[in-house]
Symmetry: C2
């Protein structure tokens, strides 16, 4: 037996490791045109200029009256109602002293000075309207191009498209968007101790859980997931699985198998078809992370422990995926929040502990933490809505401001 490797290698700084990993991410070149309703969650490949002014015509912001006063500042004023303009119809030019009954969104007629909300108008017996208070010119009139000028970018390259983005594109008449093609990610789950749920557990065996969050999360992120099943822990099977995956996928993700442990066929298999770097990162949970290439395909080896794998995925693999999709800010920013717990024991590794927001009184929100942060099961992650980033060697007292990373942000972008 040799002295295990981990006692010799110094730990790699977390930020440095992530920067290095991101430096290896090549943006996928291919894009495709998809219809608006298929574009939700996809990454925009190029900026989208507006083909038109919005509003395309000056229109009313209220249900009320478009007015053309002879003298705008003389009140009370009486105006003759000469027309009625519903949304979708078009009026004729107003003459001084005239008004048009108008509805929200309807084009204001030529010579409109302002629109008066119907609440501020008195209807007179003869069908005319009286206005008692002068209003500024242009009030409640939306000018042509006021919201969006023709040619200006309404969406920027690298955005993750959300429902409101699709609506914005629709509002200027756009029907399709050019998005990066989906990333193809192959999962390689190794380990003879892993059994699929539904099968009886033999001695020393545990259920495969990494498959489930990985598949769901990658699918939610818009990836095409390939999952050929658990790879038997032999050099041959591992090599065949990696080779097959490299022919189809942009990225191969493994869980477990790559560590300082001795039961490691993945490493040798990757090295036989490419290269692999094994990093020991000063992070907790986490620590081991492998980056390499199998032929031309990126390879990421996550830890086998589900909590370590999940945290390493959201902090390392997710930014890597975002960078491959050409997103402008692959690493998401934390936000300051108040800790509602003590964290008295410093660690030499930077820690990412599982926390949840809790409303303590009206307006005030603190973070509470999952008590057993060392847990090997997913309870803490299932319970959490975010991570708190604790610098190496630091402690926390309740009331301190801490760096909170909302999981919804990390995943939604």
């Amino acid at each position: 037996m040799n002295q295990p490797r981990s006692t010799r290698a110094p730990l790699m700084d977390f930020d440095l490791a992530r920067e290095r990993l991101l430096s290896f991410a090549r943006v996928i070149a291919q894009a495709e045109e998809v219809s608006l309703l298929q574009a939700n969650g996809r990454v925009l490949a190029q900026a989208v200029p507006s083909p038109m002014d919005v509003p395309g015509f000056a229109n009313s912001a209220m249900d009320g009256y478009a007015i053309c006063p002879a003298s705008p500042t003389t009140v009370p004023m009486k105006l003759q109602v000469t027309q009625r303009i519903a949304a979708g119809s078009q009026g004729t030019a107003l003459q001084p002293g005239q008004a048009a009954r108008i509805f929200t969104g309807a084009p204001v007629p030529e010579n409109t000075y302002a629109v008066i909300a119907q609440e501020n108008v008195q209807l007179l017996e003869d069908g005319s309207v009286q206005i008692d208070k002068a209003v500024p010119e242009g009030e409640f009139v939306r000018a042509q191009g006021e919201d969006i000028a023709i040619g200006s970018d309404i969406l920027t390259a690298g955005s993750v498209l959300k429902p409101a983005h699709l609506a914005l594109a629709a509002s200027v008449g756009i029907t399709t968007l050019t998005v990066r093609r989906r990333l193809k990610v192959a999962l390689l789950l190794t380990g003879d101790e892993l059994i699929e749920p539904g099968q009886p557990l033999g001695p020393g065996q545990i259920y495969n859980s990494n498959r489930y969050w990985l598949q769901a999360l990658l699918t939610q992120l818009g990836c095409d997931v390939m999952d050929p099943g658990i790879v038997p822990d032999t050099p041959h099977d591992t090599k065949v699985a990696l080779h097959t995956a490299s022919e189809q996928a942009d990225l191969i993700i493994t869980c477990g198998g790559v560590s300082v442990g001795e039961e490691d066929h993945v490493r040798a298999a990757v090295e036989s078809m490419g290269h692999i770097d094994l990093w020991q990162i000063a992070m907790k949970p986490g620590k081991p992370l492998a980056y390499g290439k199998v032929h031309e395909t990126d390879f990421l080896g996550l830890p086998g422990n589900p909590v370590s794998a999940y945290v390493t995925f959201v902090l390392m693999a997710l930014p890597f995926l975002r960078a491959k999709l050409g997103m402008a800010a692959p690493v998401l920013a934390p936000q300051p929040m108040i800790a509602g717990f003590d964290w008295p024991k410093p660690d030499r590794r930077r820690e990412f502990i599982r926390v949840r927001r809790r409303r303590v009184s009206q307006g005030a929100v603190v973070l509470e933490h999952w008590p057993n942060q060392g847990s090997g099961v997913m309870s803490s992650v299932a319970w959490a809505d975010g991570l708190v980033d604790i610098p190496a060697g630091s402690t926390i007292r309740a009331g301190d401001t801490v760096s909170y990373l909302p999981l919804s942000d990390l995943i939604e972008g």
Copy 2:
């Protein structure tokens, strides 16, 4: 012309309106069993107890040595390495003075006192190991049932299932989950001024944009969306469309057509087959909201303006949908954040302005706001990551703590 109704009716309080709306939400009774990989994003219909202890067996938290010292506190101690236990295999009982080489996750052998990390062990020439520092009993041993005790609930009814929930269920051998069936939502978009993107705009016409965010958002929320296309603005077409939708859907959503405006066939059509309440809510954007029934099907009438419709949807319709799915907390809690902007002009309505988080220096984050909050287009919503809830009659100065509603939370739950 009659005096329009809105000048007479007092505005309804926002919270009161939402409470009233939620009081009408009946939880859908039907549930269905789906496999784990289909369960992401669905709402759990019943609590899930664990069918097993986790860990199912006491196991090692480290790569190292399981030890059985003759005298645990006498150091240095020398132990004979008698076996090697990899994950997935099983050892035999240790005798005093013995140790087992062991790997993370592997079952500790009988009589294990503690596990020592390999970094803290000296390998001797004769193959035995020396330990220089005493360790507490049970160190780096994960006890059976330590994380999850058999019979305890691992997931609670009404949760929106996330990837980590699926992994947690998998880790205790569960293969399927019982979730509420999907809500069926019919969209009825009315208005002769609405044109589908891709068609040329006639005078006074605008592109339909509500369809796009509504379809994408409802789909993202796990609803089955029915969308028969834009309904022509006639009493007959409106009635037929509503009747057809009521036969298939749990909820009918319309945009526009229900307001104080006079061009309103939806209201009469709903009343002919059920009932409708038209509320004027003291909120901005928003204000008009209709709730009713078409036969037995819920009916929600959103404003026609896309920004008003979107904000009303996330603040009113979304909690209603969540309540129908049996979620414990249909209304999501705001969080305090620092405003990075002034809001000098109070409004008599409670305002929900579109904001975005901005990192101003290390650790500090403020909210910036979209300058044109009155905009009729979706630019502000597409840009925003949340809403700030401004009480009626209030102003804000940069540096104030405000109530921030993250859109990712509202949507993700």
